[in-house]
Structure formats: structure tokens, C-alpha cells
């Protein structure tokens, strides 16, 4: 919506079209048509036309009829009718059927037309902004629906698992069976807790302010070591972090931590069960105000058919291990806020690498 206001003028008398164009072409981008067919063609070819001005009396179709017809296919442009004093019926019709914004008397003066166009255009802007906002709201609403549906499932399912386990435990005197059920309950509760953490991350990122400052990568690496070293040792997964930091880098450390935490917890979670050398490698390289972070593993990998969807909310590309379908969505969301980008390469049964690129602020 840049540049001049785009106006379409319709009149069956070619002379009127010429004089309209001559009067207004400096200030507006003027399109003309001498029939309703031509006008419809102009509208189709130029979807940014904001104001339509039509003469009422034309041979095949009146201006009102034309507006009534065009309203269905092109609802957004503002419609104005030009007509003589005597056409009271036409004016009433125009308002009721054509839903016009303004009625302009014939013979028109330049000033009348100009003020009508300006007012019409500001109405057009407001209503298209409103349409845009409504679309956004609808999108947010749909997301919320999906959110509520999945959250209900993900919160309920561990609870029902526990109830099921309790039921079994109540009906047995076998201590080993009871212990197995208690073990299941513990895992189900951990899953629920993970899920709640993910929701917490999600809302923190959505609502939270970014705290932009110099990122301390030593500190970041130390935090990651703290979080994952033990998991690595327990499951016999080699965990190495390489750093090559050549310049200062300003960004939001909390978001970086959320991104890396999610990528790493996936890398450790989706390992193959029985291979000798399992690894998770993190490579951090910072120069010229750009950070490139690679997280690579030789785990179960992701089937190529699913790679396009892994960043979608609640999407899960595997039924191995528990997952909420939230982690990578959170990663993508955090990166959007940091103007970052993520690329993934993966091969089923061979492993996965994520490459995150972030510009410093």
C-alpha cells in the first residue's frame, strides 16, 4: 500500500474519463473503464485499487448494479456513486444494495472528488487493517484450539497411566509387580513434569522480554556440561563441546540456553541402544557478530519424510521415547525472536545435525 492512492473511475462517456484522468493523475494513480466488464477486468488486474468511483447511468448496467455485483468478488475497495440531482431512487438503491461509501452529485467539482477519495481511502485503510487483524486473531484462536486439545491429552495421559498402574498394584500381593508399577508411576510423573517445563518455556518466550547483553559462552558451556554430563556418562555417550569465540556477541542468554537445552536433550534422548561409540558434539563458533552452533549426534536419526514437520507444534516424528512435540517448536520460536535460523540434516539410523545461525544484536 505504498505510493499513490489507486482509484478506478467508470463512465460510459469517454470524454468524462479523459477529464477525470487529466484532473487527478498527478495525485492519484488513476485507472479508467468505460463499461462494467472493463471495470471488473481492471479490478482483477489491479488488486490494490482502493477506491472505485462509478457513474450511475450506463447503457448495460447501472452503477448500483455494478457495485452490487462487484461487492461479492472485490469487497475491500471503497465504492462511490456519481449521479445527477434527480436520481433519488438510485441513491437509496445505492445505499441499500451497493453499500456505497459516498454519493457525489453531478456535475462534480474537483474538490468534492478529492475529499471523497481522501476520506474513502482512510476508511479503506482502517477496514483493511481490521481485516488483517481479524485474520491474525483467527490464526491465534486456531492455534489456541490446537493447543488446548493437545495439552488436555498430554496432561491427562500420564495421570491416566498412573491411575492404571495404581489399579494393578491394588489388586496384587506380588511385591515385584508392585515395584514395577511404582517405577511406571515415577516415569509417568517425570514425563508430566517435563511437559510442564516445556509449557513454561513456551510461555516464557512468548511473553518474556529479551535481555540483550554480551553472551558469556564459557558460562553457557559450563551450564550445558552441568545439565548433560551425567546423562552422557550414565548412557555411555561421549559429550564434547568445542568453542571458538573470536568476537563479542550480544544476544539473549536465556533464549540461547532454551535452544541448546532442547537440541541437546533430543540428541541424548534419541540415541541408538546398542552401539559402541555414541556421541553428542557441540560446536560453537563466533566471529563477525555471528554465532554458528552445531549440535551433532549419531543417534536414531529422522526419516526424511518427516524433516519438514519437526518444527511444527506437537509434531512428533517417532514413537520411541516420550516427547511432547513441543521442544523443537520452542527452539524455532526462540530463534524467530533472535532473528536466527536453523538447518537440519539427518539420516535415519545414522544421526542428526542441527546448525543454528544467529546474528548478534
Amino acid at each position: 500500500m505504498s505510493g499513490k492512492i489507486k482509484v478506478l473511475y467508470i463512465d460510459d462517456e469517454v470524454n468524462n474519463l479523459h477529464s477525470f484522468r487529466a484532473a487527478f493523475r498527478v495525485d492519484y494513480q488513476v485507472y479508467t473503464a468505460n463499461s462494467s466488464e472493463e471495470a471488473a477486468a481492471q479490478l482483477n488486474a489491479n488488486p490494490e485499487i482502493a477506491v472505485i468511483i462509478s457513474d450511475q447511468r450506463m447503457p448495460n448496467m447501472t452503477g448500483v448494479e455494478f457495485f452490487e455485483e462487484i461487492r461479492a468478488t472485490h469487497p475491500s475497495p471503497v465504492r462511490m456513486l456519481i449521479t445527477g440531482y434527480t436520481d433519488v431512487e438510485a441513491v437509496i438503491d445505492a445505499i441499500n444494495r451497493g453499500q456505497i461509501f459516498r454519493y457525489i452529485k453531478k456535475p462534480w467539482s474537483e474538490i468534492d472528488i478529492r475529499s471523497a477519495i481522501e476520506e474513502g481511502y482512510s476508511y479503506y485503510l482502517t477496514s483493511s487493517l481490521l481485516t488483517e487483524k481479524n485474520k491474525e486473531l483467527q490464526k491465534a484462536y486456531n492455534e489456541l484450539d490446537k493447543f488446548a486439545y493437545s495439552v488436555t491429552h498430554d496432561l491427562r495421559s500420564p495421570i491416566l497411566s498412573v491411575l492404571g498402574a495404581i489399579n494393578i498394584a491394588k489388586q496384587t500381593d506380588d511385591i515385584s509387580e508392585i515395584k514395577e508399577m511404582v517405577g511406571l508411576m515415577e516415569k509417568a510423573m517425570q514425563k508430566l513434569d517435563d511437559f510442564i517445563h516445556n509449557i513454561h518455556d513456551y510461555y516464557n518466550m512468548r511473553r518474556g522480554e529479551l535481555e540483550i547483553r554480551d553472551v558469556n559462552f564459557d558460562n553457557l558451556a559450563a551450564q550445558l556440561k552441568d545439565m548433560f554430563e551425567l546423562v552422557g556418562k550414565t548412557n555411555n555417550v561421549e559429550f564434547i563441546i568445542n568453542k571458538d569465540v573470536q568476537s563479542a556477541f550480544r544476544s539473549d542468554e536465556t533464549s540461547l540456553l532454551i535452544i541448546l537445552n532442547n537440541l541437546l536433550s533430543n540428541a541424548f534422548k534419541y540415541q541408538k541402544k546398542n552401539i559402541a561409540h555414541k556421541f553428542v558434539h557441540v560446536d560453537i563458533s563466533v566471529k563477525d557478530n555471528t554465532a554458528v552452533i552445531t549440535v551433532a549426534d549419531n543417534g536414531i536419526g529422522i526419516h526424511e519424510n518427516y524433516l519438514d514437520y519437526i518444527f511444527d507444534m506437537f509434531y512428533r516424528a517417532t514413537s520411541e521415547e516420550f516427547g511432547s512435540g513441543f521442544g523443537l517448536y520452542n527452539v524455532k520460536d526462540a530463534l524467530n525472536r533472535l532473528n536466527g535460523d536453523i538447518k537440519v540434516t539427518s539420516k535415519k539410523d545414522e544421526g542428526t545435525s542441527f546448525i543454528v545461525t544467529i546474528q548478534g544484536k
Partner: protein, 133 residues
């Protein structure tokens, strides 16, 4: 009727719920067999290929609805394309944690689906159900 007259197949992405279903079925008493799938696609492949239920016993299918990749609805659509004489050997039940009305309505619209059961599966529920198969 006791469980020894039936085979059971459980399809649920949740490891816990598979384990619980397995336990419940065993506690009902002596099932002819129990098979568990955490992935619906593997299950449908299996059902298409096998013919080791030659004893003529009914096979009870417990299927979760919300699963990654192929969900319960995807599974039942595939299941319904099987030849009638194969389908006749199965009794299909959805077992789910869903309280979404759409899910419930949709699930009972499939001709193969006998009922919609709520989680958690319990010994009493399975016992009652075996009476009516």
C-alpha cells in the same frame, strides 16, 4: 468367557500404557497371546502379513487415538480396507485418554469400531467386554 479364548493386540505410543494394558490382560487370566505395538504402522503391517492365528480365536484390538505419525484414525482407515473375512476375526476397540467430543463422535462412526473405552484400562472393564464379544 475367560481370556484364554482370545488373542490381544495393543497399539499405543505410550510405553507405560502398553505395559499397563499387558498387565491388565494378563490379570484377567491366561490370554492366548498378547502383542504390543508402539507404532500403528508396524501394527497394520503385522496384521496384513500374519496368519498365525489359525486357532480361530477372536483377536481383541485395543487402539489408542492420539499417537504420533499414524494415529488411531489413520489406523482404523487402513484396517477397514482389509478383506471382510480378515476383519471378522478382530474385535476393534478404541482406548483413549481423549475427552474431546469430536474424537468420541468420530471414533464410533467407523463400522469396525465396537466401542470407545476410556483409559485407564482395568481388569473389570476387560472382563465385562469379553462377555459381550
Amino acid at each position: 468367557m475367560d481370556a484364554s479364548q482370545f488373542h490381544f493386540i495393543v497399539i499405543d505410543d505410550s510405553f507405560f500404557d502398553c505395559r499397563i494394558a499387558e498387565k491388565v490382560i494378563q490379570n484377567v487370566g491366561n490370554p492366548a497371546s498378547v502383542k504390543v505395538f508402539q507404532n500403528a504402522e508396524d501394527a497394520i503391517q503385522y496384521i496384513r502379513q500374519i496368519d498365525d492365528y489359525s486357532d480361530g480365536k477372536k483377536i481383541i484390538l485395543f487402539v489408542d487415538i492420539q499417537m504420533p505419525l499414524m494415529d488411531g484414525f489413520g489406523f482404523v482407515q487402513e484396517f477397514e480396507t482389509l478383506p471382510a473375512e480378515v476383519k471378522d476375526r478382530y474385535a476393534f476397540y478404541f482406548v483413549t485418554s481423549s475427552i474431546n467430543e469430536n474424537d468420541i463422535r468420530r471414533s464410533v462412526n467407523f463400522p469396525s469400531v465396537r466401542r470407545f473405552l476410556n483409559k485407564p484400562l482395568t481388569v473389570n472393564v476387560v472382563r465385562d467386554l469379553l462377555e459381550t464379544v
